[in-house]
């Protein structure tokens, strides 16, 4: 492992519920109190209707690969030991999309349309990253 630290989320009052959720093995996102839109990335207001009020709702953690790429180039030396690694844009069943990694399969075997489910990777005491793995694994 490289001893160069990987980037970590900056946890703030606004984002803490998301990271508390992943630490507790749950993927949660903000749902607008007014129009019910589930939004991601995390933000102060609903980008559909600008309502501030929201609740953090648990998602199924299931979805499908919307786009899949494989990093061979090392842009940040913290990832030098990881290449080649997959990054996927994941379409969650409840509507939002997020970037993450599909793990548990060789990176170049991840295909657009593959069904995936969330897995939780504790990378520090405070931060557990949501990643994804094939649904049937």
């Amino acid at each position: 492992m490289s001893d160069h630290p990987k980037p970590l989320p900056e946890i703030s009052d606004e984002t803490r519920p998301f990271w508390d959720g992943t630490r507790n093995q749950q993927l949660v996102m903000q749902q607008c109190a007014r129009c019910r839109h589930i939004r991601y990335p995390i933000s102060r207001v609903c980008p559909e209707c600008l309502e501030v009020g929201h609740e953090w709702v648990p998602l199924s953690g299931r979805g499908e690969v919307y786009s899949a790429i494989v990093f061979h180039q090392v842009y940040d030396k913290a990832f030098a030991d990881d290449v080649p690694y997959n990054v996927s844009l994941v379409q969650l069943d409840e509507g939002p999309r997020m970037f993450s990694n599909v793990v548990g399969v060789p990176p170049s075997q991840v295909r657009v349309g593959d069904r995936v489910r969330v897995v939780f990777d504790p990378v520090t005491e405070e931060v557990t990253l949501p990643r994804f793995t094939p649904e049937d694994s």
Binding site: K6, P7, L8, P9, E10, T15, F18, R39, Y40, P41, I42, S43, P47, Y66, S67, A68, I69, V70, F71, H72, Q73, Y75, D76, F79, D82, P84, Y85, V87, L89, P96, R97, M98, F99, S100, N101, S108, R111, V112, G113, L129, R131
Partner: protein, 383 residues
């Protein structure tokens, strides 16, 4: 909307040598490009009363770049500013210049860019996304966003890496006819396939260069450009559009705003894809050219892969694209040289790579995390 159709013209273009230029700085390149464009235009320095700049990646003063460039050139402008939209900046600034000229805020506006990105070590490796950056998952660098688009396009439409290679091969062939291009040795589809992966599905030869260089474009009224030193090139249509949302837009990867920008430019010009003789399409990565071809109506959505096969976008083909070599092979001037090449083609100054009888040129630009786009229809003004 008040139409700017044929109201303004590009009267001067200039570029420095391109590539690796040790000892150059953002400022020295910007200044040299300005002098070259001024000379090309036949105007005097005191004629320039508007100054718009793009700080690039190496101007230490960032968005205050207009002050530094203005001081170096000894210009106290009536209208000025700097803007940063990556590869979308050049077109946005030229369009802003045209609006300033039309509204009387300035009579001749110099749009200036310099960047010592190669010798300055710019890596273009920033993670995209705000706040909880995508970098957490190792999603970083400019190539990744275009790789997302390529992966999706391939899955939906069966587009192949060999079809992407057609774009790289065409740009390189055109660069081989451009004395100021950085990469001039012809390549084949096999060379493209053999080049290493950067972010799969993109190979090294799907990616643009990183270059030092400067470019300047001077805009004035169509009337004033009439009896100028150079043949007149009119801005007949212009349009812009932006998708600031990324994950929240299901079709973000497909850069739908590009079509809006193009439709606006076509509508203003009263022209369509069937009228375009030559196109300079922003090519940070090969996939970008495919998406532009679809949005610009040269082929249907999903059909750009087969469209580029068989040399159709090469000189001598149905639609010559990036006739100077583009960002992929001429130099990575973030789209500034695309406008310069459009002007040169319409003036008939393309030399070995001239598209015979070219009277209309489509020029596009796109920047940031696939967010910013613009398009212009340039036409040959009557003598």
């Amino acid at each position: 909307m008040h139409s700017l159709k044929d109201r303004t013209a590009i009267i001067g273009v200039g570029a420095t040598p391109q590539g690796k230029l040790p000892g150059s700085t953002q400022l020295s390149l910007a200044v040299d490009a300005f002098k070259a464009a001024l000379d090309d235009s036949g105007l005097e320095k005191d004629d320039i009363d508007g100054l718009l700049t793009f700080p690039g990646t190496t101007a230490p003063e960032g968005p205050l770049n207009y002050l530094r460039v203005g001081e170096a050139l000894g210009i106290d402008p009536a209208f000025t500013g700097s803007m940063a939209m990556g590869g979308g900046t050049a077109g946005a600034l030229v369009q802003m210049a045209a609006m300033a000229v039309e509204s009387g805020h300035a009579t001749a506006v110099a749009c200036v860019f310099g960047d010592a990105a190669k010798t300055g070590g710019s890596r273009f490796n920033r993670a995209s996304g705000w706040g909880d950056s995508w970098g957490i998952w190792g999603m970083m660098g400019a190539a990744a966003n275009s790789a997302v688009a390529a992966s999706r396009h391939m899955a939906l439409y069966g587009t192949t890496s060999e079809q992407l290679a057609e774009v790289a091969v065409a740009c390189r062939r055109h660069a081989s006819m451009n004395p100021n291009a950085v990469m001039r040795d012809p390549i084949t589809i096999a060379d493209h396939q053999a080049s290493r992966f950067i972010v799969e599905p993109l190979h090294l030869l799907d990616c643009c260069l990183i270059s030092d260089g400067g470019v300047c474009i001077i805009v004035t009224s169509a009337e004033r450009a009439k009896d100028a030193k150079q043949p007149r090139v009119l801005i007949s249509g212009m349009g812009q559009a932006y998708t600031t949302r990324t994950l929240e837009r299901e079709d973000w990867w497909y850069v739908p705003h590009q079509k809006e920008a193009l439709d606006r430019a076509y509508a203003m010009a009263g022209l369509g894809p069937q009228h375009i003789d030559v196109a300079q399409l922003y090519d940070n990565f090969t996939i970008s050219v495919l998406l532009w071809l679809e949005h610009a109506g040269f082929c249907k959505p999903g059909e750009s892969g087969p469209f580029v096969e068989g040399g159709r976008i090469q000189l001598g083909g149905e639609l010559p694209v990036n006739t100077a070599g583009g960002n992929l092979s001429e130099s990575y001037m973030e789209g500034w040289l695309h406008i310069v090449e459009g002007v040169r083609q319409l003036r008939g100054q393309g030399g070995e790579r001239q598209v015979q009888g070219a009277e209309t040129c489509l020029v596009t630009g796109r920047g940031m995390t696939l967010n910013c786009s613009n398009a212009m229809v340039l036409t040959k003004g009557e003598a």
